[in-house]
């Protein structure tokens, strides 16, 4: 897993590779760190090829800390199998303050509107 943070009006966590139980703590720590200071967060998983329940837990943690307190989290996913995992755990359903999309431009637009 490779992780890059872009600071700005809307912070971005850009992740590439495989997110599993072994490497996920780094992502969770970064989400916790940013959630203390922001009401908007873009998680760009465009280059993520593998995600399991640890990655799902990290996304839910972002939703809990930001979306459920009036903020907005947008998640960009391109890999169909990763999207299938998110579907199985219910993250493709409508969740207030959470946008799941395949298009980073749309994610940014939603965050700017909100």
């Amino acid at each position: 897993m490779e992780l890059k943070v872009e600071q700005g009006k809307v912070p971005v966590i850009d992740v590439a590779g495989e997110i599993d139980h072994f490497v996920c703590q780094q992502l969770s720590d970064k989400i916790d760190e940013l959630a203390d200071h922001t009401k908007k967060l873009l998680l760009d998983f465009s280059e993520v090829s593998y995600l399991d329940s640890a990655g799902v837990a990290a996304v839910i943690s972002a939703i809990q800390q930001i979306s459920l307190t009036g903020g907005h989290v947008a998640l960009v996913v391109k890999h169909a199998d990763v999207m299938h995992i998110l579907d199985l755990v219910g993250l493709t359903s409508n969740i207030e303050g959470f946008t799941l999309t395949q298009d980073r431009g749309e994610a940014q637009k939603r965050l700017e509107e909100d």
Partner: protein, 139 residues
């Protein structure tokens, strides 16, 4: 009885770094046995979840513990057996009315495989999972 087209077994140290390896082995077995890429992906997630649990809960002595991993493909069925030294601890995916960040591993295993059996004994927990080519998850 038909001879298995793929059968290998390993003993891993209970360290997180082996998750990559178990996924690679599962991918190899799935390809040899003719499973589709999306089937193979689902099996990789299920195997990785089960092994993560074996490392986290099935290894009371930490990284000095080991767990057994066996994968067999016979006919149109792939079978995976994981045996550790501890107690399997499925968590709930909700905490009261709230979403929990944990507890989706066993759910994903069951959603992605045709059968998941847990057998507990004094010596540890055995997870036995099977997936048929014509099984669930076809997209």
């Amino acid at each position: 009885m038909q001879a298995p087209s793929y059968h290998k077994s390993w003993i891993f140290s209970a360290k997180g770094g082996c998750l990559n390896t178990v996924r690679a082995i599962t991918e190899e077995a799935g390809k040899v046995c003719g499973f589709s890429p999306s089937d193979i992906y689902g099996m990789k997630v299920a195997v990785s979840e089960a092994c993560a649990n074996a490392i986290e809960h099935g290894s009371p002595r930490g990284a000095s513990d080991t767990f057994e991993f066996e994968i067999t493909c016979s006919g149109d069925e792939l079978q995976i057996r994981i045996k550790d030294n501890g107690i399997f601890k499925p968590r709930s995916a909700t905490e009261g009315a709230h979403l929990s960040t944990r507890g989706r591993g066993i759910y994903l295993m069951m959603a992605l495989m045709d059968s998941v059996k847990l057998e507990e004994s004094e010596s540890g927990t055995m997870v036995l999972m099977t997936r048929k080519k014509s099984g669930k998850g076809e997209k």
